[in-house]
């Protein structure tokens, strides 16, 4: 019976709502008008964490000169226009990422610096973006936004003992709650602006969402009566999530999007990887401008991404290329890929710089961490980490510095500093041994 059943080839059979299409480029959606500015007098910076996998070719990343007016090797070069607000931090290590299944735990430890438990059922550390979301994200509809470009990387991003939780996301809300990252621009758009195609429809649906959530809470209470003690506790987690959503829906209902030109909802995932990455960056910029969120994490490519960068003439898949065996040609191609990633990031930074917000610009009010939790991808090591800090952070960052710390200084020290600069008092986290005051 199985065999006579009609079967269709997957790749050429398309189902449901339609698949990827050319995207509406979102440049148009950032109007010259002022962004939806904070009303609070003392603005706290937005925090943005941009992660790239597979480290960097370090001699093409690290400036030779320390201190101010440092030089720009190939991979950093696209950030030159922002030197005044840029700090390169060298000499950092993240010990928590050291274990045999490297790729499977590298992303999830970048912002926590807590070695994860060896278990499919995850137990790691809360990441600093989520600490920020707790502190500064609560007055926006979405306390934090988690964004990616690929659902998952290749073999190795999961591990038999560690599972998949630490390899797919850089954001943990609690030690046991990894936050999935959205890679579909259409879903992300709907997450930001709601379902429905017109403003009117969105209002209607938002109202409906509120009663749906009431019903969900009611049904959950029903269900709870039939559960054992442990499952009741698990259902509590679910209820917390429902309430979080409820809060979000209320915020959404009350928000004012007059200052933002909303483009059409993207139809799906663009076929070209660079266009996809750009679209995600654009949506991030839009969400900041519309004041929908103040905290964003973004994985520019998946850990163990096998994405070829043919659009810049590099046909190799990213991950195999990152195992360059010190072959000069491969190193060149890898550096080209990495410089391209920096360029995509720089375009996003430029967009923030061009977005006025109150008296200054979005970039002046942002604190951005740009880096990787791996250093030499050929060796899978976690020292020295390529790390850059960018943005004005509402005047809390000096900028124009290349800081070189003693070898193997924990990156957690930087995280502590960043949280404090963002107005979130923090004494220590992970394996931190202090705080960088120079930054």
């Amino acid at each position: 019976m199985f065999i006579t059943k009609l079967h269709l080839q997957r790749r050429t059979v398309l189902k449901g709502l339609g698949a990827a299409v050319g995207l509406p480029l979102l440049d148009a959606m950032i109007p010259a008008a002022t962004a939806l500015a904070d009303t609070a007098a003392a603005a706290k910076p937005r925090m943005i964490f941009v992660y790239f996998p597979h480290g960097a070719v370090m001699d093409k990343w690290t400036p030779k000169k320390e201190g101010a007016d440092f030089d720009f090797p190939q991979i950093l070069a696209p950030l030159k226009p922002f030197q005044k607000q840029l700090t390169i931090v060298s000499g950092l290590e993240n010990k928590s990422a050291i274990a045999a299944p490297v790729h499977a735990i590298t992303p999830g430890t970048w912002l926590s610096c807590v070695p994860p438990r060896i278990s499919h059922d995850p137990l790691g550390g809360v990441t600093i973006d989520q600490m920020a979301a707790q502190a500064i994200g609560q007055d926006t509809p979405i306390p934090s936004l988690e964004v990616a470009t690929e659902e998952q990387g290749g073999e190795g991003s999961c591990d038999r003992n560690y599972g998949c939780s630490y390899g797919k996301t850089i954001s943990f809300r609690t030690p046991s709650t990894p936050l999935p990252m959205e890679h579909n621009p259409r879903k992300l758009f709907q997450q930001l602006f709601g379902q429905g195609d017109t403003a009117e429809e969105r209002v209607l649906l938002t109202r409906e969402d509120q009663s749906v959530l009431d019903l969900v809470l009611h049904d959950a209470a029903d269900l709870n009566r039939t559960l054992g003690a442990r499952d009741q506790a698990l259902l509590d987690d679910y209820l917390t999530t429902v309430r979080e959503l409820e809060r979000r829906v209320q915020k959404v209902a009350g928000r004012d999007l007059k200052g933002v030109n909303l483009p059409d909802t993207p139809a799906g995932i663009p076929a070209r990887f660079d266009e996809h990455m750009k679209l995600m960056f654009d949506l991030m910029a839009l969400s900041l401008q519309a004041n929908i969120t103040k905290v964003i994490t973004f994985m520019m490519a998946a850990e163990v991404s096998n994405q070829p960068y043919s659009f810049i003439g590099v046909a190799d898949a990213f991950h195999p290329l990152s195992h360059h065996s010190n072959n000069a040609q491969k190193l060149d191609r890898l550096a080209k890929v990495q410089a391209f990633n920096t360029q995509m990031f720089a375009n996003f930074v430029k967009k923030l710089q061009a977005t006025p917000n109150g008296e200054s610009t979005m970039l002046d009010q942002s604190l951005i961490l740009f880096g990787s939790n791996m250093s030499n991808s050929n060796l899978h090591d976690h020292y020295p980490l390529p790390t850059a800090v960018l943005g004005g952070a509402c005047g809390k960052l000096k900028g124009n510095q290349h800081l070189k710390y003693p070898d193997r200084t924990p990156i957690a020290n930087l995280h502590v500093a960043l949280l404090n600069r963002a107005g979130i008092p923090t004494k220590s986290l992970g394996d931190s041994t202090g705080e960088f005051t120079e930054i």
């Binding site: 059979v13 060896i118 259902l235």
Partner: protein, 839 residues
């Protein structure tokens, strides 16, 4: 501290190896002389000296290698230390311990120790029974889509609606890791809205644009299964339309600007709706070629315009829409003679040039002027009644929603269960009439956690730690998600509700009925595909310059071959050892050519029996396995060996330690070595050899298959003949895949046990623990009587306590563990993990 010890262990291994090579006795180091003893398969105590002779050197109270110290343990406490000893059994069975290069015990003695341990552990199940427990179990997205299909006769693409689920032990249905985040919940709620609108239909649907984009690579000269015969190339679209009305087709960018390919030949493009032709238009030929040549872009524009704004009336509901070309007779062949067209008649060209105008982007816009909703399969399923007067509306709504809720919640429902849905009905009714009311009510059912979660409700007042039999209603769900990956049907729900399902005769009858049902195909596409990591095929992209025979269509072909191969074995209830040994397979013309099989024509898959000269018996000869375990540019015996160890033998190797030097790729301008030679260099290091001594020989035996699964006698890269010889840890000599297969069949119980472990993990939706192993072994032993038939294994699992019972667990804690002699309790490691074992 620990790192230091590992180094010591390495050095010890190194010395031992050097000693071996020098021909000295393995006792050349300073340890005491081995104790003499007589192995006895029925007495652990009698075999204990083996541990002291071979294991305690590392696993002792000073070194604590792998957090185990056998010198702190006693033969008579094995029964209570299952967690440690189950791992020991696994390591012994797989030949993983002692590591290669270290002195090895006599095989008979090893066997005796293992047998005696197993005997004690199996008996201990009576003393320490533990059915385990599964936490609140969320539907994953595959189950969600299947449940929707059963409930509403509606096909949805779950990947477009819901986030991907995490996996544990290779499966995406493990309750522990199926978490809920705001992003998930948000998508889940919006999925309910979309699904309910699609199912009920929307007579007021606004015009929207759906764009379907096909592969950039699929051949345009190949018939696409599912499209009418006599067509070639193009796209098949399965979609649900919201309302009756006009829809506009736009086939975008058929021919591009610049150098225009493929217009020199006459092509006939057709559109079919449910296999009926609704549009036909020529493309290419002399006139078009002239237009392109003379008018350039303007000519291209005119030609493309013929395939835009094609308006047709379509009804609501599911349709199969084909946009494809008519095949001409062979006498006027369409085939373009390309310079490097490697597979005759298959027209894929590695240079990326089009082999004719590619149908790649189809837009369906509509409905334009929606005119109501015709009957669709979904509506037929939902509207069991339809009110003829206002007075009939509420009773009818109640009937519809109660019936939907019963199916969705997988149990009889009470008035309270449909209360919420009815109030949504009410709101919708006021807003847009009866249909909208039903749509809102349906949405309310789909958002409910009662649909989202499977539960095991304990009887009232169950104390923590106590065991209880799960309710028959819960058993019905467990059974159907196991065998169908979907919700139980009416018969199961009925038997669950009446409390009869657990009765052995009833249960057996139901299992047999379910296995015979087409829905049991989920065991192939969901269970077996995850077990064998078929998804991994999508992640390999062979280098077309090295493998001109590769076309992306092969990924589909390999997948389909495996699906049909497994399907036949499962459907006919064959012994699962057939999966290793069966001599039949399924191929279409393209795959037949790839395998070097003659006489198969066309795109349709056919069953073929292959002689031994093809070396394709069982899973080891299948392209899906061979390509998943390769890199873009070469084979990887390591991945292949590790795959065999994990998927077939159940003894997966450890991940490599950090900072290992990568595999030596051939340097540009350097001398090319065979993969074997390059691996040899790393196996000469004892620290690598500890694992690679086990992994590599398995993979090297498959070297006659290249990275895309084609047979080869020669390594083209290195210009050398293939050497597929090797020696397994037990001394078995291998020369190629046939020997390897025989070696695996010689340990068929190990293969069957591994299969059973995977099936049980999937069936229970939880990671197996040490206390499950006696059950697994029992099932395997029992199934040996009828040659390991699938249904016997399934019944064994279904009849086990692990499946029917549950241990009540206190809030947020795990099942109470037995005390183990371990310094640091690893937090819930799986069975297959061994902790860090020295090298």
């Amino acid at each position: 501290m620990k790192a230091g010890l590992i180094v010591v262990a390495l050095m010890v291994a190194g010395t031992a190896m050097a000693a071996d090579q020098a021909g000295a006795a393995p006792t050349a180091d300073a340890s005491p002389a081995p104790k003499a003893y007589t192995p006895n398969p029925h007495s652990v105590a009698a075999n204990w000296p083996l541990l002291e002779n071979y294991c305690v050197k590392c696993h002792n109270a000073t070194d604590w290698a792998g957090s185990v110290a056998f010198d702190t343990m006693q033969p008579d406490s094995v029964a209570g230390e299952g967690e440690i000893w189950e791992k020991a059994v696994r390591k012994l069975r797989g030949g993983l311990m002692p590591p290669p290069g270290k002195p090895q015990p006599d095989p008979a003695a090893r066997q005796a120790l293992m047998a005696s341990l197993i005997e004690v552990l199996d008996k201990a199940q009576g003393t320490y029974p533990n059915p385990g427990s599964v936490v609140l179990h969320r539907l994953n997205r595959t189950e969600y889509a299947n449940a929707i299909a059963d409930l509403l006769d509606l096909k949805i693409d779950p990947a477009a609606l819901l986030p991907r689920d995490d996996k544990a032990d290779g499966f995406d249905n493990v309750a522990d890791v199926l978490k809920v985040s705001p992003a998930f919940l948000e998508q889940y709620l919006s999925a309910a809205r979309q699904v309910s609108v699609e199912a009920v239909g929307n007579p007021k649907a606004r015009t929207t644009s759906r764009i379907f984009q096909g592969s950039l690579e699929a051949g345009q000269y190949v018939h696409l299964e599912g499209l009418p015969l006599g067509t070639r190339g193009g796209l098949l679209i399965e979609t649900d339309l919201p309302a009756d009305g006009d829809y506009e087709f736009n086939i975008n960018g058929l021919i591009g600007a610049g150098y225009v390919w493929g217009v020199m030949d006459l092509n006939t493009l057709i559109i079919t709706v449910d296999d009926v032709k609704v549009f036909e238009q020529n493309l290419g030929g002399d006139a078009d070629l002239t237009a392109v040549d003379v008018d350039q872009a303007a000519g291209v524009g005119r030609i493309n315009a013929r395939f835009l704004n094609i308006r047709r009336h379509l009804t609501a509901g599911p349709h199969r829409i084909g946009v494809t070309y008519l095949e001409k007779t062979a006498a006027e062949s369409n085939e373009v003679l390309n310079g490097f067209n490697t597979v005759a008649g298959m027209s894929y060209n590695v240079n990326g040039n089009s082999d004719g105008p590619r149908i790649q982007n189809v837009e369906i816009k509509g409905p334009i002027d929606a005119k109501g909703v015709s009957d669709t399969p979904s509506r037929a399923k939902i509207f069991a009644c339809y009110p003829k007067s206002a007075a009939e509306e509420l009773p009818c709504a109640r009937q519809i929603l109660s019936s939907l809720a019963e199916k969705a919640f997988r149990r009889p429902v009470t008035g309270e269960d449909v209360e919420g849905a009815l109030s949504f009905y009410d709101g919708g009714r006021k807003q847009g009439g009866f249909d909208v009311g039903i749509q809102k009510g349906l949405m309310a059912i789909l958002v409910s956690p009662k649909f989202l979660y499977r539960t095991h409700t304990p009887p009232a007042n169950t104390a923590a730690g106590a065991e209880f039999r799960i309710r028959d209603a819960d058993l019905a769900s467990r059974l159907s998600f196991f065998l169908w990956s979907s919700a139980p049907d009416a018969e199961l729900v009925r038997l669950g509700a009446s409390g009869q399902l657990h009765q052995p005769e009833v249960l057996t009858k139901q299992v047999k009925r379910m296995l015979a049902d087409p829905r049991a195909h989920a065991l192939v596409t969901n269970f077996a595909f995850q077990w064998l990591n078929v998804h991994g095929l999508q992640l390999v992209e062979p280098d077309p310059n090295l493998f001109p025979a590769y076309t992306p269509d092969l990924i589909d072909d390999f997948t389909r071959e495996l699906e049909l191969f497994l399907g036949e074995a499962f459907e006919n209830d064959r012994p699962v050892t057939d999966l290793l040994n069966a001599n039949y397979t399924y191929v279409n013309e393209r795959l037949a050519l790839h395998y070097g099989v003659r006489g198969v024509r066309g795109g349709r898959f056919q069953r073929v029996v292959l002689g031994d000269e093809f070396h394709r018996r069982g899973l080891l000869g299948k392209g899906a396995f061979l390509m998943t375990t390769s890199y873009a540019n070469r084979t990887t015996p390591v991945l292949r060996g590790a795959y065999i160890l994990e998927k077939f033998l159940g003894t997966p190797p450890q991940a490599p330690p950090p900072a290992v030097q990568a595999f030596v790729e051939t340097q540009e301008g350097g001398v090319a070595l065979t993969v074997r030679e390059r691996l040899e260099s790393h196996r000469s290091q004892p620290s690598c050899n500890a694992c690679h001594g086990i992994i590599d020989p398995l993979g090297l035996a498959l070297e006659n298959f290249d990275a895309v699964g084609q047979w080869r006698e020669k390594d083209i890269d290195a210009g050398a003949g293939i050497d597929a010889s090797g020696k397994l840890t037990d001394g078995t000599r291998l020369h190629g895949v046939d020997d390897l297969r025989k070696a695996l069949l010689a340990r068929q119980d190990q293969f069957v046990q591994t299969f059973t472990e995977n099936l049980m993990t999937f069936g229970l939706g939880r990671t197996l623990r040490y206390y499950d192993m006696p059950t697994v072994r029992g099932i395997v032993r029992k199934s040996a009587n009828d040659g390991y038939r699938l249904s016997t294994l399934v019944l064994g699992i279904v009849n086990s306590d692990a499946f029917q019972m549950e241990r009540a667990v206190e809030e947020k804690t795990r099942a109470p563990e037995q005390k183990v002699a371990s310094r640091e309790e690893p937090a819930k490691t799986t069975l297959f993990d061994g902790g860090q074992t020295g090298p």
